[in-house]
């Protein structure tokens, strides 16, 4: 067991774990941050997507020993106010079962952080790592465009 200092959602944690333990299981089992989901364990489905230093990564395949930089999970994304992506997700009634949606939202938020007005092709490539078994893709696309619009309007107003 090795000790790791992590910064997650702006809070500091010290965790003890085997170095190869995926960040996903530290979040879920040790820290109780269960918003991040397990779907495949092999970086295929995106259910476990979190941000490390603002980059979308698959927490199921990212060992805790490799984490350098602050981690953001879906629980920390929209605090204190909902992130525009979350707002757009609710307004477009995106979720069906909802299980993939934390991962979808984290990928979408990472996309918008670097590309304020993504095209459909940009969305296709940024969201390619996220499965939705329920098939909410049409609404995900629409919600990302809406979130981009919310962001643009709030920037224009501030």
């Amino acid at each position: 067991m090795t000790s790791y200092a992590l910064e997650i959602n702006s809070q500091k944690y010290n965790v003890e774990a085997e170095p190869d333990t995926p960040l996903l299981w530290i979040l879920r089992d040790q820290l109780g941050l269960t918003g991040t989901k397990y779907g495949c364990g092999i970086a295929q489905c995106g259910a476990c997507t979190v941000h490390i230093s603002g980059q979308a990564v698959r927490a199921c395949s990212f060992p805790v020993s490799g984490v350098q930089g602050p981690v953001t999970t879906v629980e920390g994304l929209g605090t204190p106010q909902l992130h525009p992506v979350q707002e757009a997700w609710v307004a477009n009634d995106v979720p069906q079962c909802g299980y993939c949606q934390a991962g979808q939202i984290m990928s979408a938020a990472a996309l918008l952080a670097t590309n304020a007005q993504p095209s459909d092709a940009d969305i296709d490539s940024a969201m390619a790592g996220n499965y939705c078994r329920c098939g909410t893709y049409p609404r995900i696309r629409k919600a990302i465009h809406d979130a981009a619009h919310i962001l643009a309007t709030s920037k224009a107003n501030s």
Binding site: T73, L82, V90, A128, R133, Y137
Partner: protein, 745 residues
């Protein structure tokens, strides 16, 4: 109570004897039973579904499992509408698993059809009690009062809020359901609107309660490993090594138990058997998964499956050539018609693979077992996502002998169901592991476990022959289903329901089946039976239209004949008028027959299942390298009046994506009893880039509303393959398309 109502309710009331005689009462929800005792301070209960808080919030119970199909929003909407509530005041709460709520099962697209009357009654009953209270409180006539926007309003304009009336209302007599009057749909303020899912905020902030997220005190984390050859049992394993691994608390063999699958509900018979294997219990999930990877088990494969997909294909080809089979529907003249030199004939051998459910949330269950001590009987608590949570009580009784009353089940949100989460094999494993380990456990299946231990959509084959006469009309339809059953029973989704169109509407049809016993567990997968039969039947209708040199739409409409019920008043069999309605609507909206560039074409399919009439037109582009893209799918649906427009659209969109995902690249194969796919890299789910434009149109006929979780899926595959034929001239008779070199882009 009317006689018809009576019969229907009797029908729903299933009292089952289980195993040694424990009773399960699968009754429907009780009529408005006011409970003057407050559940907690300030909360008044008008019936089991409706409670009013002092602050004006209205709590409505959602009694059925929510798996993404939207019932947690749609059914409370029906209650709120009749109650006269303002939707903004409503808080929806998941009901406990309890007989008071009736049969708490979700599947078969039944939820709306079977529960809407009860929901309406609960809302109306509570509303009448509030009106009675208002009449007393305001000293006015009941007739001059109505409920609107969470208030009871007098014709004079004076009003009282539901919250003000609640304590008086709970003491009012519960109205006789026969006397209840229901709202005129023209005055609806909630039903038919687009209402977002009640858990959306929890979901987008990571706070929704899925089974996999449950933690209870002293809980340990378990994995379970079964023989890759289905049905093999564990003899021994590298116990010392496993127990020494970091975080591992315990590891042991679990013996198989077939009795766990006993059920008095026919669908569940022999399903939830406990397969033998090795349990690893650890301090956290990762330690259990890491140890599982190091596990070396000696298996006894004497009873294991030897099923082999290649053998099945060979067998089916032989059967198709030999012909025959058990007759399902006969027509003595059919061979004469097929052999008549004036007729043109076509024959096609169709094939569809086994499919896995791959619910996004792998199967899991938290189990807390407390053994009997002294006079206190054994108790079991379960936390899980399930499509029929109460059935797990049967499993617990079969396996551990715990009486149904001593099993408490906490139903969590389901990360997908699609038919998979009706079967409680995963719960059987969790409860047995908890018992053997002597601690509460959360069993989590890895994705490979989930793919290897499914109740698959059964694969199969159909050999089709048909003839058209000199006038270009369908003259004969000869359908031979070649598929599978278990050694003791039929498989859900294999063969025919008997209500398939066109065969129910035709005299000149012969239908037969040849079924072979297999050991691979199979079960319900979104639109069982329909999801493969639609592909075969609706493709073959197109083949016959092409053979006749006729337009597919015109040929299909001709097959429908006059507008009528095939069986008068039976909503489970196609109504040709409703069918014609959706087919014509889809054709008009898609501009059927419009000019398209080379390599792009439209394909049409209609299907009837789950009391729903659905027509779909796919516009597909195919290039010379067999890359294909579905540009647009136009959908016309008749399921009666729409309850939640947003949820209904979601179900159609999801069905289109799911159907496309499956046909494009999904198949489960087995070799010598072993499932050959392990994870998503071998069982791909469609990604966002392939999503077509989906254009949905509802015909809100006056028939009662029915469900939409499944029926928009079956027509998708034939609509797409018919379009590929129109674009390329290649007839597709086998799934998935990736096996034929097609690549969905």
């Amino acid at each position: 109570m009317s006689k018809m109502m009576m019969n229907r309710r009797e029908l729903l009331k299933v009292t089952a004897m289980v195993g040694g005689g424990a009773m399960f009462n699968l009754a429907i929800a009780q009529d408005g039973t006011a409970d003057p005792d407050t559940i907690e301070d300030g909360v008044k209960s008008l019936n089991v579904f409706v409670q009013i808080e002092a602050n004006g919030k209205i709590r409505i119970a959602a009694s059925l499992p929510e798996m993404g199909q939207g019932v947690k929003t749609a059914l409370p909407m029906i209650i709120a509408e009749e109650l006269g509530a303002r939707w903004e005041d409503v808080i929806v709460e998941q009901a406990p698993v309890d007989d008071a709520f009736g049969v708490q099962a979700a599947g078969g697209s039944w939820s709306i059809a079977r529960n809407q009357d009860t929901m309406r009654r609960m809302g109306a009953s509570a509303r009448e009690m509030l009106i009675s209270a208002a009449a007393l409180h305001m000293e006015v006539e009941r007739e001059d009062l109505r409920a609107v926007d969470s208030r009871v309003v007098h014709t004079s304009g004076r009003s009282r809020s539901f919250a003000e009336l609640a304590s008086l209302a709970v003491n009012q007599p519960v109205p006789d359901p026969e006397t209840l009057q229901y709202k005129d749909p023209n005055n609806y303020t909630i039903l038919g609107k687009k209402i977002p899912g009640v858990d959306n905020l929890a979901i987008v902030t990571g706070n929704a309660d899925f089974g996999i997220d449950v933690t209870i005190p002293n809980m340990r984390y378990a994995t379970y490993t079964k023989c890759p050859e289905i049905g093999g049992t564990a003899v021994s394993f590298n116990e010392a090594e496993i127990k020494n691994l970091p975080g591992v608390v315990d590891a042991f063999i679990v013996e198989p138990n077939n009795a766990a699958g006993n059920s008095n509900i026919p669908f569940f018979k022999e399903m939830a058997v406990l397969r033998g294997g090795v349990a690893i219990v650890a301090e956290d999930t990762w330690s259990a998964i890491a140890a599982k990877r190091r596990l070396r088990v000696k298996w006894d494969q004497a009873q294991a499956s030897k099923d082999d997909w290649q053998d099945m294909i060979e067998w089916a080809n032989g059967v198709a050539q030999a012909g025959g089979g058990e007759l399902v529907k006969d027509n003595a003249d059919i061979d004469a018609v097929l052999n008549d030199p004036n007729n043109k004939t076509v024959e096609g051998f169709y094939q569809f693979p086994y499919l896995a459910h791959v619910c996004m949330e792998p199967m899991n269950c938290v189990a807390d077992y407390q053994p009997a001590s002294g006079d206190v009987p054994a108790k079991l608590n379960l936390w899980m996502g399930s499509q029929f949570p109460g059935q797990a009580k049967e499993v617990a009784y079969n396996l551990l002998g715990v009486a149904p009353d001593d099993v408490e089940i906490k139903l969590m949100r389901l990360g997908g169901g699609f038919g998979r989460r009706g079967v409680h094999d995963f719960a059987a494993e969790a409860m047995m592991i908890a018992k053997q380990a002597g601690v509460p456990v959360k069993l989590t299946w890895t994705r490979p476990d989930d793919i290897h231990s499914d109740f698959y959509r059964v694969g199969g084959f159909q050999n089709m022959k048909g003839a058209v006469n000199g006038n270009g009309q369908l003259a004969a339809w000869d359908q031979h289903y070649i598929g599978f059953k278990t050694p003791t029973r039929d498989i859900s989704g294999a063969g025919f329901f008997g209500n398939e169109f066109p065969l129910v509407a035709m005299d000149n049809a012969r239908v037969s089946k040849s079924m072979k016993a297999i050991k691979t567990p199979c079960g319900a997968w979104r639109a069982p039976g329909s999801n493969s039969n639609a592909f075969v039947e609706q493709s073959f209708i197109h083949e016959l239209a092409v053979l006749a040199g006729r337009d597919h739409l015109e040929f299909l409409l001709e097959l429908l004949g006059d507008d009528r019920w095939i069986v008068e008043g039976n909503a489970d069999i196609v109504n040709t008028g409703r069918a014609r309605g959706v087919i014509n609507l889809a054709a008009a909206e898609a501009n059927w027959g419009k000019k398209l560039p080379a390599g792009t074409a439209q394909g049409l399919a209609f299907y009837f299942c789950h009391a729903a009439h659905v027509a779909e037109i796919a516009e597909v582009s195919v290039d010379s390298k067999r890359n294909f893209q579905v540009n647009k799918v136009t959908v016309a649906v008749d399921v009666g009046p729409i309850v939640n427009r947003s949820g209904a659209l979601s179900q159609v969109e999801g069905s289109i994506v799911d159907g496309l995902s499956a046909m494009a690249g999904q198949k489960i194969t087995m070799a010598n009893g072993r499932i050959e796919q392990d994870n998503f890299h071998q069982y791909p789910v469609m990604r966002i880039s392939a999503t077509p434009e989906i254009d949905v149109h509802f015909i809100e006929s006056d028939f009662p509303s029915t469900g939409l979780g499944e029926p928009a899926l079956p027509p998708l595959a034939p609509a797409v393959t018919n379009a590929i034929f129109a674009a390329t001239g290649e007839r597709i008779r086998s799934m998935p398309l990736s096996d034929l070199g097609y690549n969905l882009t």
